[in-house]
Symmetry: C2
Subunit: 398 residues, 2 copies
């Protein structure tokens, strides 16, 4: 938690990964992020992983440091309260449909400077998820050794979309500060995906070559980078992106003469050109396989670290989480209460600001924990009216 966004308040009506992470990043930077949830929880409130008591370890991490107002969004009165909260606040993050009761034109009635950031599936409004836009743009056909397609496990498009949505919200606020203009910002997963293919050169590449890039297993396209197995059976990833790293890697593995001979026979030099190191991988990779297979991971790690060589052994997620430097002793983690009651290191903002004090991470809210506070403060509802709404099941409380 840092206080970069102190004073900013955002209503969030969202589920799954993309839209909740946009709110999470804002909350971790000090914004007041008020989730408006269906009474009892939205569609992802019990999403796995869950505890034995069916509390979601997923939900309680994606919604840290936020507040929760619970409303029955199936009834007109609940929907009107959400609309009123959005109008009273002025900033809204959602993945609800473009049309309907949370359409931007509807919400902007009486609040012309409203900013709505909307995460979508397909740009035309049809539903899509990370795992379907991913195969729509072709990555599973490039992943793994083949011939079968391989899906990613990390919901990468959701995550990129969420961070971009947080950025777009602040950019829209910046314009509003200068011009008083609000508006809707739509961010479809499908456009994030195909736009990223373009940004990485993929659209240009397939149109230039007319063919798909070859499947490379665990090798990286266009440079020297791959997994290798050590003498003690460990698998490690080695990637070279600078001339110095290349020179130091060749030296660390004692491959200077062999590389020089290869360079002479093929009439090239590998000293400064990523592409040549990739183009001649048929000859280079076997040399490195032998050299890595002759030494232990420990021995190689010592040699590589001295040379500033980028490498890292493969490990499981459990091993990673047990690495004290990465979790227990990492300042981005801290203790926070959790709705599940299970205690474990909680993450704060990814960023570190050396000139500012990091505040500890906070818990996710219980469903409806802030209903009374927010309805009173934001909409000036009298306590009797709030009591009536609670009795009627329009408003839920924790």
């Amino acid at each position: 938690m840092y206080d970069l966004l102190t004073g900013l308040s955002v209503i969030e009506a969202s589920s799954f990964v993309a839209s909740p992470t946009a709110g999470l990043y804002c909350a971790q930077m000090g914004a007041e992020v008020i989730r408006v949830d269906q009474v009892g929880g939205g569609p992802d409130f019990r999403r796995w992983p869950v505890t034995k008591a069916n509390d979601s370890l997923y939900w309680e991490n994606l919604n840290r440091a936020k507040k929760s107002v619970a409303l029955d969004l199936g009834r007109p009165e609940g929907r009107e309260l959400l609309q009123a909260l959005v109008r009273a606040t002025g900033q809204f993050i959602t993945n609800f449909p473009v049309d309907g009761f949370l359409s931007h034109p509807t919400l902007a009635e009486g609040r012309p400077d409203l900013i709505t950031v909307r995460v979508m599936g397909w740009a035309h409004g049809a539903p899509a998820l990370d795992y379907t836009v991913n195969n729509s743009v072709g990555y599973p056909m490039l992943t793994g050794a083949g011939p079968e397609p391989v899906n990613h496990v990390l919901p990468a498009w959701d995550l990129l979309t969420g961070a971009y949505a947080a950025f777009a919200l602040l950019a829209a606020i910046q314009r509003r500060s200068a011009t008083a203009m609000g508006g809707e910002v739509r961010i479809p997963l499908s456009d994030v995906a195909i736009g990223t293919v373009a940004n990485l050169g993929g659209v240009a590449e397939v149109l230039y070559t007319g063919v798909n890039r070859p499947r490379l297993g665990n090798a990286v396209y266009g440079l020297f980078g791959r997994d290798f197995v050590t003498a003690d059976g460990e698998r490690t990833m080695i990637v070279v992106v600078t001339p110095r790293q290349w020179a130091n890697l060749v030296a660390a593995l004692g491959l200077g003469e062999a590389i020089a001979a290869l360079e002479a026979s093929r009439g090239v030099t590998f000293a400064t050109d990523d592409g040549l190191r990739f183009a001649h991988r048929d000859a280079l990779y076997p040399m490195f396989e032998c050299a890595v297979a002759a030494r232990s991971l420990k021995d190689l790690t010592a040699a590589f670290d001295v040379g500033g060589i980028v490498h890292s052994p493969y490990r499981t997620m459990l091993n990673a989480v047990q690495d004290r430097a990465l979790v227990a002793d990492n300042p981005i983690f801290g203790q926070a209460d959790n709705p599940s009651g299970f205690a474990y290191p909680a993450a704060g903002a990814f960023a570190t600001l050396p000139q500012s004090e990091r505040q500890p991470p906070r818990a996710a809210p219980r469903n409806g924990a802030h209903s009374e506070e927010i309805l009173a403060d934001r909409l000036s509802l009298p306590s009797g009216e709030i009591a009536r709404l609670i009795d009627a099941g329009i408003v839920g409380i924790a």
Copy 2:
């Protein structure tokens, strides 16, 4: 291109993916983003994919709509010019090392309100790349059918870090507007990766269960979602995240009776619970395999689209790029000149603002194309001095 960030100027000294995308997203929203490049190009200036003339299709897409000042950063005079540009501008995005001539304390001398956003590898300063932090946190051991680890091809950590860096820059500017305080924002790839494992519930999960999640091939953890093969041999991904999608999928495939029988025999109901649909996948997936295998993709697509079911066939990147709806007719794409001379659809901002006019994408700069303009405007260098610097090879021009 949109004009949300008009008036914002940023110096960018960066390479690879994360840091350049942070600048790209800002430039596509109207900021003036001035790359300071090594004369002749930095370490990724020729990164593959490249044309026959060795122009990088990767570089020219990651650096659209930016300006380029070329300096010899190997010489003190070139380094001092970069420092002076950063101080004169006040906002800086970089992946240069924490220490050295671009350290924040050095740059903030004489510019105490400077904001530096620095993308890093490991938080302690050692180098790391997307493909090594990825295996450090365990995803390759969960990807694919196993037993070998499978790297992702999409540089997901770089992309998430880049978008988060753009967000963090605007958040830091927001604080400075309120408090006049600058500062450094460090964003290590390693913290983005382990922090994301935590945000998705992964840290809690492995500590709660004490074991790693099973490898699931192309199935999604914790819900109903997997690839299926149609009667005509097409592979399609189907994912269910709402009760309505489940009901419609079961109906579309005529599986109502079979599912009811399974529910009766196992004493569960699948109507509303993602987790149960996952827990009983041993029985559910074979039913759906048979039902999907009996029908053509075209037939299934029609039935699924009517029911709002999230599905998408696998395709190659070339197929995706040839899909007119995704690229040629997609308003996020437009025409722009390219340094390579090759013409193809260029991407603009992922976001669409229905109330604002989208301006066409712009070209990446030639190395040093804006050296004279920026050194004159920003540092008030007289033309004779600029000419001397060019003659001395300290400054490069296009």
